[in-house]
């Protein structure tokens, strides 16, 4: 059977561990590890665990229920067909989903849940059916579950045509066709773009080709890295202390391997959480025996004649004997296939409105093209209508469901994507969770718990308003902060709280926008006004769509 846990919802109550201890376990006090493909013999226990979850975060295949809250119930009653939607499209339309990962799968499922009966094609560049990525740097790396044991549960039958192992290479908006790497074309009436992000490779191609140099993004990466680690390397080098890098370091340490983490910034997780909380994460790493070097970069990697990685040269002048180097350098959005399509797609993702409808390069919203998941950038009213591209598990699900819903609903029945962003990471036995967008903050304050015990909540403020919160093993308090963020409550919070000792706010210590940090979890518009990178190309009315040049228009479009 297949199980997945929405760990953004999980608050660490541990009810699943009590009821199915062979399937679920705690790593530390709050972080959950689990087997995504438990044996059928565990079925009753897993059902007990799923029913008992206080936040209903467990999704079990074939349980014939939908995940989440009341909104899904409403969705069923609020059937598209009854809301003035295009009945012909609902019955016999053609939807193509490009991207066969979490967002693509959940989007396809939602389409069916919403009553779409037409043809559905799901295109994916990897040869595998949709699988869950977060376990690759945790349970899979630890050897608790195999890389091919990460398939996502199917929450309903989607009756789709799967085109797996074939990348989409182009989009013809005029003819409404997706072009595939094998030369075929797939026509659509409506399109969902969910092509996500790929790992940023080690920049030197020859060095990147050495055996032992690897990223962690795909199932194949996960399987290979596990093999490398299981072979007992002399030392593992982690390049980049973002979430993926820190998690990999944590697992390697738990396996007893010597680990060096090299981070260009001044602390781990600095891009997402700032240096105040980043320094706490640094303490965690060092306590667990990680050789953590901040403000340092890897200058080159050496191999032996057989092409195996042997050494790494660091900017602090040191040379390390390493057999494995994990390049955890963040991601690159998969937008190249959209070049020339006329959509507003660029390095920050594909821009869309709050209803996941794609914009074209002129800032016009499209009718039939939707975007979801890591590759989507949508304006968020809670954060100054900044276009946020969020690489978060829960965001992928939420956007996919909203895109699918809006794809089959007439204007008045559409949903906006307004959810407060949430993400999690587990490392060194600590469950780190975040709500809001801490990386937009200027100040931070520890409001509950204590830093010494590594159990605390830190609230983040921007210009006197609370904008985010991060917990270390304190997840069950975060919903309260989520409400404060939604209300744009004053920062710092000026009221007594249980477990609080009234610490003062300090600068949060986010790097300046021009400083690259590995593995950012949020990308905002990102431009300083002085930094005008895109040229405005006036377009003749009869012209075919221009190449991607006017991505960020400096002036409004004038008629004629």
């Amino acid at each position: 059977m297949r199980v997945v846990v929405d760990l953004a919802r999980c608050q660490g109550y541990g009810q699943c561990v009590f009821l199915a201890p062979e399937v679920f376990s705690m790593d530390g006090e709050e972080a959950l590890f689990y087997d995504l493909g438990p044996d059928e013999a565990q079925r009753t226990k897993v059902l007990r665990a799923a029913a008992a979850c206080p936040v209903q975060a467990l999704q079990v295949e074939g349980k014939d229920v939908e995940p989440g809250r009341a909104s899904h119930d409403e969705a069923r009653e609020d059937r598209a067909a009854d809301r003035g939607s295009d009945r012909v499209f609902l019955r016999s339309g053609r939807v193509v989903v490009v991207g066969a990962s979490l967002a693509g799968l959940r989007g396809a499922e939602m389409l069916r849940a919403e009553g779409f009966e037409g043809s559905l094609t799901v295109i994916g560049d990897e040869p595998y059916e949709p699988y869950d990525r977060p376990p690759l740097s945790k349970q899979v790396l630890a050897g608790r579950i195999p890389a091919d044991g990460t398939a996502l549960p199917r929450l309903r039958d989607i009756a789709a045509t799967w085109r797996l192992g074939t990348a989409a290479t182009g989009l013809d908006m005029m003819a409404k066709r997706v072009l595939l790497a094998d030369g075929q074309e797939v026509p659509f009436d409506r399109l969902l773009i969910a092509t996500g992000v790929r790992a940023r490779p080690w920049p030197d191609e020859d060095e990147a080709a050495l055996e032992g140099v690897i990223s962690v993004r795909t199932r194949d990466d996960g399987a290979r890295l596990r093999e490398l680690v299981a072979a007992g390397p002399r030392r593992v080098l982690i390049i980049g202390a973002g979430f993926a890098g820190s998690e990999a370091a944590s697992v390697c340490r738990s396996l007893g391997l010597p680990v060096t983490v090299v981070e260009a910034g001044d602390a781990p997780l600095v891009g997402a959480l700032g240096s105040v909380v980043g320094r706490i994460a640094a303490g965690l790493q060092r306590e667990h025996g990680v050789d953590l070097r901040c403000g340092v970069t890897v200058t080159s990697l050496d191999g032996d004649p057989a092409g195996r990685l042997r050494r790494a040269h660091l900017s602090d002048g040191s040379v390390l004997d390493v057999d494995v180097a994990v390049a955890a350098l963040g991601g690159i959005r998969n937008v190249e296939w959209l070049r020339g399509s006329g959509l507003a797609a660029g390095v920050w993702g594909v821009a869309c409105d709050a209803g996941c409808r794609a914009f074209d390069v002129n800032g016009l919203v499209t009718d039939d093209v939707f975007v979801a998941g890591d590759v989507a950038r949508a304006p968020h009213p809670l954060f100054g209508y900044e276009f946020l591209a969020l690489e978060h598990w829960g965001n992928a699900v939420a956007e996919a469901e909203i895109a699918a819903h809006n794809m089959v609903h007439a204007e008045t029945g559409r949903w906006p994507h307004l959810a407060v962003p949430e993400f999690w990471s587990s490392q060194f036995g600590v469950n780190i969770k975040s709500v809001g967008v801490p990386s937009l903050a200027d100040e931070v304050v520890v409001t509950q718990g204590s830093v010494e015990s590594r159990r605390f909540v830190a609230a983040y403020g921007f210009q006197g308003r609370i904008i985010g919160a991060v917990s270390f093993d304190h997840a069950l308090w975060l919903d309260f902060y989520k409400d404060l963020i939604e209300e744009a409550a004053p920062f710092p919070p000026a009221f007594p709280m249980v477990g609080g000792d009234g610490m003062r706010a300090t600068p949060a210590g986010f790097p300046a926008p021009s400083v690259p940090t590995h593995d950012a979890t949020v990308v905002v518009t990102g431009h300083e006004p002085s930094e005008r990178r895109a040229a405005y190309v006036r377009q003749r009315r009869d012209a075919s769509p221009t190449p991607l040049r006017a991505f960020r228009q400096a002036q409004p479009r004038k008629p004629g």
Partner: protein
């Protein structure tokens, strides 16, 4: 004030059998000020929010009481960080992360115990589901788990009844009542004796583990340990008794569901969740206090106010559950019945497993069960609500499923008439 009147009626025993229409009325004022200055919160979203609100304290002691030596409250009445430490130290021996398999490992024994209780129905035309089934089962389980001699039940049940009675905001038994004070002293004295015995000769039980813990964070202070032991013994069975009794009652009121459960034991899993929502054993949490002004639903709860969270009203809120007054075991819900936040029910997994097993065994083996009285008589407390008795007629008992060979548990004792009297007066 109309809404205060509603809450008073809820507390009144005459409405104990079916308080739900009054809860519906109560929800019309989601945050209702009472004549005594306290606030009653009844809608799902507001109750759920307050369960996770760090501006709400569970520690109602005055500064002086807190500074005074002796009698430390259980984790139920403590705030973080004390609460978290006490809970962590207690959890070390009961559940994850250190003892994840304890409750799951009790499964066979639970099944055995409940099966023998149904065996004892054989040859009887009528049983009291409370006294003969819903009560002895969790009592036997919690005694075994804690290491409390089962034969001491008549002793501690008196104290339990007095203390449960003290949760009744309407009753005469307040915390300061001499009977309550004496019950606490006697109860703690009894438990102190047990702890001393277990420390000398530790067994596999929870009290032994807590009394001899040598973990990295140290162990609970003796005074803390007694507070915990008292809480675990009371909460470890009292609420489960009510849940199982309400489960049987609800099944007999919904014969279609009873029939489905007979055919599909797995239904018990979702059914118990729905039962928790539909008939919560803990109807309300009356001991929270605002540490700051809390603006909620258009009302400001002033700092210092005592706040009652009516879980049972939230669980029937039509804004959170479609057709909330319908018992629907296919429903998937995030009910409030085990609370939420740091005080989430400590023993929830055990209560779930016990109730799933009890209802499945009852449905499968008891032939043609019929209610003798509907509604049954109810116990006094509006906080810990449950039937006093649940007489059920039956035509016979089907044989037990094949059982793992195991020594028979001790005979389950009936309450004596005198105990019954204490219980009824509660």
């Amino acid at each position: 004030m109309a809404e205060a009147g509603v809450f008073e009626q809820i507390l009144d025993h005459s409405h104990r059998a079916d308080p739900y229409p009054l809860y519906a009325e109560l929800r019309r004022t989601p945050v209702a000020r009472q004549p005594d200055g306290s606030y009653v919160v009844s809608t799902y979203r507001h109750v759920a929010a307050l369960l996770h609100d760090p501006r709400l304290s569970s520690d109602l002691r005055s500064e002086e009481e807190r500074a005074a030596p002796g009698q430390r409250p259980s984790m139920l009445r403590l705030d973080p960080p004390d609460h978290d430490r006490v809970r962590r130290l207690t959890m070390r021996h009961f559940g994850p992360p250190h003892t994840p398999a304890r409750v799951d490992g009790m499964y066979d024994e639970l099944a055995e115990t409940v099966s023998r209780l149904v065996d004892d129905f054989a040859g009887r035309e009528q049983v009291d589901v409370v006294d003969d089934f819903a009560y002895p089962f969790p009592v036997a389980v919690i005694c075994k788990l804690l290491g409390v001699p089962r034969e001491d039940e008549p002793r501690f049940s008196r104290w339990v009844d007095v203390l449960v009675g003290a949760t009744d905001p309407n009753g005469e038994l307040k915390d300061t009542n001499p009977a309550v004070v004496q019950a606490i002293i006697d109860f703690r004295g009894y438990l102190a004796g047990l702890v001393a015995t277990h420390r000398k000769e530790p067994g596999e039980d929870l009290l032994s583990a807590l009394a001899t813990d040598a973990g990295p964070e140290g162990r609970l202070g003796d005074d803390e340990l007694l507070g915990q032991a008292m809480l675990l013994l009371i909460a470890g069975h009292e609420t489960t008794v009510n849940l199982i009794a309400h489960g049987v009652l609800t099944l007999l009121r919904h014969p279609d569901v009873l029939q489905r459960l007979r055919e599909d034991p797995e239904l018990s899993i979702r059914l118990v969740e729905e039962l928790l929502r539909y008939e919560p054993s803990v109807q309300m949490i009356p001991w929270r206090r605002a540490l700051a002004d809390i603006e909620l639903g258009g009302t400001t709860i002033p700092s210092g106010s005592v706040v009652t969270l009516v879980l049972a009203a939230g669980d029937r809120d039509p804004d959170a559950f479609r057709d909330p007054d319908r018992f629907d075991p296919d429903r998937q819900s995030e009910h409030l019945s085990f609370g939420g936040g740091p005080h989430f029910c400590f023993g929830a997994p055990l209560a779930r497993l016990e109730t799933q097993l009890a209802l499945t065994e009852f449905a499968r083996r008891v032939e043609n069960p019929r209610l003798v009285a509907d509604p049954p008589p109810y116990r006094p407390s509006p906080v810990l609500r449950g039937p006093l008795h649940l007489p059920v007629r039956l035509d016979g008992v089907a044989p037990a499923a094949r059982r793992v060979a195991r020594p028979a548990p001790e005979m389950v004792r009936q309450r004596t008439p005198a105990e019954e009297d204490v219980h009824a007066r509660g």
